[in-house]
């Protein structure tokens, strides 16, 4: 039962979180549909089932804060307020895309919204996120940097270099490990020396061991707010391990057959963050009409954004030669 009298989150923020998570879910579903229609080429790594993590941080962060995500970054980008057509347009290689087709699904970037890039080489962006955090410290400003990554990242060197540096320099940064139990196709426990791939390493860098149910949106929001406040108050970095599960395979090419049917069924039916949060909203006596109106609004937004993306022109070929350098061009000799 929910404790309505001691509700630390409140209806307004819960509905904000609901709307956010729903948007992430429905856009990812739309991306999947567009793939099946061959309107999105290349690869794509969907975050279906993991929406509570990006959603909670999206609600908790302030304008001006910096986020860094991985190639599984559509949700994290949308969570900062990037437009749906900006994301879908980029996936479809259209001019309305966030980077006008120059980056694609794995590199979504929207600096105006604080989305400092999506990174497709495991581990790199943890070190880069330290840099924006270092800049905030250097400039004596109070932005917080947040870096999302998967469980597989905890076994690459850059993870360890980045945590050590963040700690010794007391950087205003939050590292968020989304442990979806699988490193691509391999169960993470088969290739990791410790049970909790991120949290069990925290002690090595004098950080608290933080494990959270990444599919419980309220808990995720509380954990995010606490770590963000700590960073903003100059009290240093945090490493959060959020347990979650992806509903689809690793990437477009992967049907995810290596996962036991029972396990998939359990996560889909009993631990789906969206389904469970809807039930929780009702438990908190939030009017179902309001919940449904938000659902309709988001569905409508996704459809309109899809239409905008499909109508947007493809890039001009001359764009190949732009923006290698800050002068806008690509020349390398006189």
């Amino acid at each position: 039962m929910v404790d309505k009298l001691n509700d630390d989150i409140g209806e307004e923020k819960r509905l904000q979180l609901w709307e956010m998570m729903l948007k992430l879910r429905l856009v990812e579903k739309k991306a999947y549909d567009l793939f099946l229609q061959n309107l999105i080429k290349g690869t794509s790594h969907l975050a279906l089932g993991q929406e509570a993590i990006a959603g909670a941080f999206g609600v908790a962060l302030k304008q001006g804060d910096y986020t860094f995500c991985t190639y599984r970054g559509h949700a994290h980008t949308l969570a900062r307020g990037s437009s749906i057509e900006g994301v879908l347009g980029e996936l479809m290689g259209r001019q309305c895309g966030l980077m006008k087709g120059k980056g694609g699904s794995m590199h979504l970037t929207d600096v105006d919204k604080g989305v400092m890039g999506s990174y497709a080489i495991i581990g790199a962006h943890l070190t880069i996120a330290n840099g924006t955090a270092l800049a905030s410290k250097y400039n004596k400003t109070n932005e917080v940097s947040v870096c999302f990554f998967g469980d597989g990242t905890t076994n690459i060197g850059a993870f360890h270099e980045a945590l050590n540096m963040a700690k010794i320099w007391n950087l205003p940064i939050v590292f968020v490990c989304e442990n979806n139990l699988y490193m691509e196709y391999t169960p993470i426990h088969e290739v990791t020396a410790v049970e909790h791939p991120a949290a069990d390493r925290a002690g090595a860098y004098d950080l608290d061991k933080i494990i959270v149910d990444g599919n419980d949106a309220d808990e995720m929001l509380r954990t995010a707010e606490k770590a963000i406040s700590k960073a903003r108050e100059g009290k240093g970095p945090s490493l959060i391990e959020a347990k979650t599960y992806r509903h689809s395979g690793h990437s477009r090419a992967d049907p995810g057959k290596y996962r036991p049917d029972e396990e998939v069924k359990d996560w889909m039916e009993n631990k789906d963050p969206i389904k469970n949060y809807r039930a929780k909203l009702l438990d908190f006596n939030i009017n179902e009409k309001i919940i449904s109106e938000i659902e309709e609004k988001i569905k409508d937004q996704v459809e309109k954004a899809t239409e905008i993306s499909m109508a947007s022109p493809i890039p001009e070929i001359k764009e190949i030669y732009t923006d290698v350098w800050a002068n806008g061009g690509s020349e390398w000799h006189n």
């Binding site: 910096y66 966030l98 980077m99 006008k100 120059k102 980056g103 590199h107 970037t109 929207d110 600096v111 400092m116 890039g117 990174y119 080489i121 581990g123 790199a124 962006h125 943890l126 070190t127 880069i128 996120a129 330290n130 840099g131 924006t132 955090a133 270092l134 800049a135 905030s136 250097y138 400039n139 940097s145 060197g157 850059a158 270099e161 980045a162 050590n164 540096m165 010794i168 320099w169 732009t322 923006d323 290698v324 350098w325 800050a326 806008g328 690509s330 020349e331 390398w332 000799h333 006189n334």
Partner: protein, 327 residues
């Protein structure tokens, strides 16, 4: 008028940039309290303090990642990689992240940073602390590649590198740290992408970089004094951007070209220069472009082995004579 070593010009160049712009900070291993393993950054910590001169752990990925992230916000970091050979352990950050992020973001992000690194042989350090790796970075779109050959170029090119809105890899040559030059004015600025002529001549064009440019100049003096050959020596100063016009102008005059590289032959920068010359000046050539390089081997350590691997002044002289006189 003061005599300045290449080593001292490095710390002075960094200090001058840091005095001019509060956005500039310096990060690396042993760069602050220790003054750098080559003593090229002595005095910076004392002048600018720990907030702007940061001693980092042995974490090359974390160093360059932090520099990149800071640069993305508009700061202008100078990051040191102690030996250029160590670029191999952070090459993802250099080649995939720093180089490509501007392009992939459709120009949303600029990365105005400088990576300084001690490059090249001559110190008998063996194959993992002696390489000349300019060509590694030359082949990656998005990186500028600078390699100064003298103290005044260190001062002038560092000033431009720090001000440059794009990432610059600044290769300092270990064997030049003791090189001295009389310098009147230290607050210099030299545009990146302008080659320098170290010796005038119309018989042959010799193109070099860093230590090899200085050796080519020494060779040109011998060729003039003892062999009546007038060689034009072009110090490229930077591979990207490349001053092709200066090369073309000289090749049209001389018709003979030699590149002198410290790296192994395969895919060395001289191959690209040779290709450009054949595209742009084919009709002016009186013979094939000659490439003088190290052989295709890792650098050995012992005196006699290293000395006979890296192109020497004597080798350059002999190769020019062979080329022009068929001897």
């Amino acid at each position: 008028m003061a005599q300045l070593t290449y080593r001292a010009s490095v710390s002075l160049a960094i200090a001058q940039s840091m005095r001019k712009d509060q956005k500039v900070f310096f990060i690396g291993e042993d760069v602050g309290a220790a003054g750098g393993v080559f003593k090229a950054t002595v005095g910076l910590l004392e002048e600018f303090g720990k907030e702007r001169v940061m001693d980092a752990p042995i974490s090359e990925q974390a160093i360059l990642g932090a520099a990149m992230g800071a640069a993305m916000t508009g700061l202008r970091p100078i990051a040191e990689i102690m030996f250029s050979d160590f670029l191999a352990v952070c090459w993802d950050i250099v080649a995939n992240q720093i180089a490509k992020t501007r392009y992939m973001s459709d120009g949303q992000i600029n990365i105005p940073l400088v990576i300084r690194t001690a490059n090249g042989g001559g110190s008998k350090f063996g194959a993992q602390h002696s390489q000349s790796l300019e060509n590694w970075s030359m082949m990656i779109p998005g990186l500028k590649v600078v390699a100064p050959s003298c103290p005044s170029d260190v001062l002038g090119l560092m000033d431009s590198a720090v001000k440059d809105p794009d990432p610059v890899i600044f290769y300092e040559h270990k064997s030049l740290y003791a090189f001295k030059e009389e310098i009147e004015q230290t607050d210099l600025s030299i545009p990146i992408g302008e080659a320098n002529t170290l010796h005038e001549g119309k018989d042959i064009t010799i193109i070099g970089l860093a230590l090899m440019a200085q050796r080519a100049k020494d060779a040109a003096l011998i060729l003039k004094d003892k062999h009546d050959i007038n060689a034009k020596v072009i110090d490229l100063r930077s591979l990207v951007p490349l001053d092709l016009q200066t090369i073309k102008k000289s090749v049209i005059e001389t018709g003979h070209v030699m590149t002198v590289e410290e790296n192994p032959r395969l895919c060395g920068w001289g191959a690209e220069i040779s290709s450009l010359i054949s595209e742009h000046c084919f009709k002016n050539l009186k013979g094939p472009v000659t490439r003088v390089t190290t052989p295709h081997v890792p650098l050995p350590s012992a005196d006699i082995l290293e000395d006979n691997t890296i192109p020497s002044v004597e080798l350059i002289v002999n190769e020019v004579i062979k080329k022009l006189k068929g001897e």
